[in-house]
């Protein structure tokens, strides 16, 4: 029995209906099978809510393993998550309790996982500054293909990601770094890039049609160089 406490912090504005949560919960399910005590919190509902933010910060202090799950926004972490990490680091100011570890799961809508590299660096640098032992950042592209579904319902396209999360859990359980081959497995393409791009482009057009904006997708709402 492993009595260590895991906190999954989902930092997506889509909250319970997010790909970040789907990926994080798959990992958590495996950690639970291995006897770890779990807690999941959402960051966005805590923004501007003192009680929820206090609960969240307390949970970060108490956990043995913190797992951050977030979407890639403009090449790195969403702003509210950076804000939270800065607050955590300031609160600790070198006084972190020993033995805490951190791992991250990031997904992006581009087909290439390489877009996520700066985010992995940022989480690693935060860990060093705030006194967490960094165990790795599991990054995947083609996040749009998961479409906020639980991984178990996303079919064979996410087989690499499921296997990577399963294997990563074994290492996280023992507070060991996730090996490079598992990180690479997590980043493997879910489908050929041309097909993902084709489906994504078609998806935007389909959504626009639904909203009656199909002929306005290229609109320039502002007046470019005329703006002062």
């Amino acid at each position: 029995m492993n009595s260590r406490k895991v906190l999954l912090l989902v930092a997506s504005p889509r909250g319970a209906a997010s790909t970040s949560k789907s990926l994080g919960e798959h990992l958590l399910a495996v950690l639970e099978e291995r006897g770890m005590a779990l807690k999941t919190l959402q960051l966005y509902p805590a923004l501007g809510d003192e009680r929820k933010m206090s609960e969240l910060l307390g949970a970060v202090d108490l956990c043995d393993l913190l797992v951050l799950a977030f979407p890639l926004y403009v090449d790195q972490l969403p702003a509210p998550l950076i804000d939270l990490l800065r607050l955590v680091a300031e609160r600790r100011n070198g006084q972190a309790r020993t033995g805490q570890a951190l791992a991250a799961i990031v997904n992006c809508g581009f087909p290439e996982t390489a877009h996520c590299r700066p985010a992995a660096d940022i989480v690693r640098l935060f860990s060093a500054q705030a006194g967490f032992r960094f165990l790795g950042c599991l990054a995947t592209g083609m996040g749009g293909a998961i479409g906020n579904r639980p991984l178990g319902k996303a079919g064979a396209i996410v087989r690499h990601q499921r296997r990577a999360l399963d294997r990563a859990a074994a290492f996280l359980c023992e507070s060991r770094e996730i090996p490079a081959d598992v990180l690479a497995l997590m980043g493997r393409a879910m489908m050929p890039r041309w097909f993902y791009n084709f489906v994504a482009d078609r998806g935007w057009k389909k959504a626009a049609k639904k909203y009656g904006t199909a002929n306005r997708l290229f609109d320039r709402h502002y007046d470019g160089r005329q703006e002062t």
């Binding site: 997506s12 504005p13 889509r14 997010s18 966005y44 923004l47 979407p71 926004y73 403009v74 090449d75 790195q76 972490l77 969403p78 702003a79 509210p80 950076i82 804000d83 990490l85 800065r86 680091a89 581009f110 087909p111 290439e112 390489a114 877009h115 590299r117 700066p118 660096d121 940022i122 989480v123 640098l125 935060f126 500054q129 890039r193 791009n197 994504a200 482009d201 935007w204 959504a207 626009a208 639904k210 909203y211 904006t213 306005r216 997708l217 290229f218 609109d219 320039r220 709402h221 502002y222 007046d223 470019g224 160089r225 005329q226 703006e227 002062t228």
Partner: protein, 194 residues
């Protein structure tokens, strides 16, 4: 020349180094006589992106959050040829004061995919021959943080349409005069106004 200056320093007094760098950038911009829109982000009401992608589908090019200060930034960006980002380097990236504005910048992109340097990116809704300058500050020299920051700026430049990017990092007790001197020498600013 039209420029947008994202001043991502924390509120005045919290980070003198970053505020000094902001003053140096402002001074050089003034000396060049560029038409500049400067945004003191820490003082602005900019809500978090909802990740709804309405700006690409339901209201193309326009964010559905209308009750904050972001629209002025989108308006200025659409016509800017020079983009200047200033931030205290935070875990190798941008401070939340700057990042909250950048998270909401995606209405200036189109949803579709194009290839740039072998990778997938989004086309610009307002294509212009832009250049990017990123100015980061560090309380003390730190190669790890600086390296991550430079990598991030490079990726941002690709996502802005593979624009030419310049990254400057000021650390320690760099003086205002020293900052102005280094900034003035950057090709980004061109020649000094006569």
């Amino acid at each position: 020349m039209k420029a947008v200056f994202f001043k991502g320093s924390p509120p005045a007094g919290r980070d003198p180094l970053s505020n000094r760098a902001a003053a140096a950038v402002s001074a050089v911009l003034k000396s060049r006589g560029w038409e500049t829109k400067a945004f003191p982000l820490a003082a602005m009401d900019i809500k978090a992106c909802r990740g709804c992608f309405s700006c690409w589908t339901r209201t193309p090019g326009c964010c559905v959050i209308r009750d904050d200060d972001q629209e002025a930034i989108l308006r200025a960006w659409s016509g800017a040829e020079r983009i200047i980002l200033l931030t205290p380097i935070t875990f190798g990236g941008y401070a939340p004061e700057l990042k909250k504005a950048l998270d909401r910048i995606i209405p200036v992109l189109l949803p579709f995919f194009i290839r740039i340097q072998g990778e997938t990116h989004h086309p610009q809704r307002y294509p212009l021959p832009r250049r990017l300058l990123a100015v980061g500050t560090l309380k003390q020299e730190d190669a790890g943080n600086e390296g991550a920051f430079r990598q991030l700026v490079g990726r941002n430049a690709l996502n802005m349409g593979d624009v030419e990017a310049t990254t400057l990092v000021f650390s320690g007790d760099a003086s205002l005069a020293e900052m102005e001197r280094r900034l003035s020498q950057e090709p980004f600013f061109g020649a000094e106004a006569s």
